[in-house]
Point group: C2
Chain length 215, copies 2
């Protein structure tokens, strides 16, 4: 891929202890768009950064030298908790979201966007197991608990972890057409949930009961 | 996590241009097992290694200094083609699979295992869009085209990309119990396909027709 072929740049914004699938599920789908979409990874400083599950990834840009992004992808994960107090991260997100075509979050990433004040007046959602973490960041957001993902204005927020892949395919369908999204879903053998209010169809009753007990 | 808590070590074996979700979908699921399962990434040399989609990951071990693995995870991707001719990779896989409790592949990764002679006499599957790449490596393998994943002996092989997550949950259910697998599926909001012969339920007819035309 040459730089000149790319008409949009997507930047995944990493912070320590990000959730692996929040980043790499959507990047698998966006990677299927082809050379017209460049994908970069960004963190406070360029270099290695560890996920919540342990494996490390490499940010090629730091906040200071990151180019203007067209699409922003912000993951969740256990690292969300310290990230909520990271003024440089919040400022970077405000700066990029100010001009980005679309800013996306997966899982508890929407809590960080809400803390940055970026979701005020908009509909948004978040991970169902940590929903209050998101809602407690701002009461000016119209939180939609039952959604798997929500698009409003220049923001798209998804529920937990694997919901990010469904959001990514919906965003690809919007930007590049339904046929492209369907082809990517088929190639990755992914059963795309097209309904943003899809319910769990196939989970164990014991697991769901356990989650209900935690709430 | 301290080393002493881990009773098993899973190693993801990376090679240039590996498919992102083949690695990080299963690692998301295995990462949910907890501190009793250590996760490491391995490549020919330790250090940075680029995926097919561009983003780079970090291998903490090279083939020479890699410890004995209990679980091996081998991805597919466009990098499979040169990997089939990589004698050091094939030898590393033979050495690790010789003592591992379970060696897993996702997508075209099973073509590499077949080339290494490791699947002879066993049932196995592979990515449906590149199935012949796998079958052409060995006629002594009982290739099961209609399967989403197959477990046989100390090997588990899955179909393309997202099928690796279903295989991972099935393996976790076998090693750590169904309840643990269900809890991980629920926490990641992943709709686990428990049936290894599940069909696409929700794909676009246009995309499926296009794939059929390619075959």
């Amino acid at each position: 891929m040459t730089e000149s072929q790319a008409t949009r740049t997507l930047g995944a914004v990493l912070y320590p202890d990000f959730e692996l699938l929040d980043v790499f599920g959507p990047l698998e789908m966006f990677g299927g768009v082809g050379p017209e979409l460049a994908i970069v990874m960004v963190a406070k400083q360029p270099g290695e950064i560890a996920s919540a599950q342990g494996p490390r990834s490499v940010a090629e840009y730091g906040f200071e030298d990151c180019p203007e992004l067209d699409l922003v992808l912000l993951p969740g994960g256990i690292g969300t908790l310290p990230a909520l107090g990271d003024a440089q991260l919040l400022e970077f997100l405000r700066r990029q979201a100010g001009h980005a075509e679309l800013t996306m979050s997966v899982c508890s990433g929407s809590a960080i966007l809400a803390r940055a004040g970026l979701l005020d007046g908009l509909k948004a959602t978040s991970n169902k197991q940590f929903f209050q973490l998101a809602t407690s960041q701002s009461s000016a957001v119209d939180w939609v608990e039952e959604a798997r993902w929500v698009e409003d204005g220049s923001f798209a927020t998804s529920s937990g972890v694997s919901a990010g892949m469904d959001m990514a395919l919906a965003v690809i369908a919007g930007l590049y057409g339904l046929e492209r999204a369907e082809a990517i879903g088929a190639r990755t053998e992914y059963e795309w949930h097209r309904d943003p209010f899809v319910k769990y169809l196939n989970q164990g009753t014991a697991a769901l009961a356990a989650l209900a007990d935690e709430e």
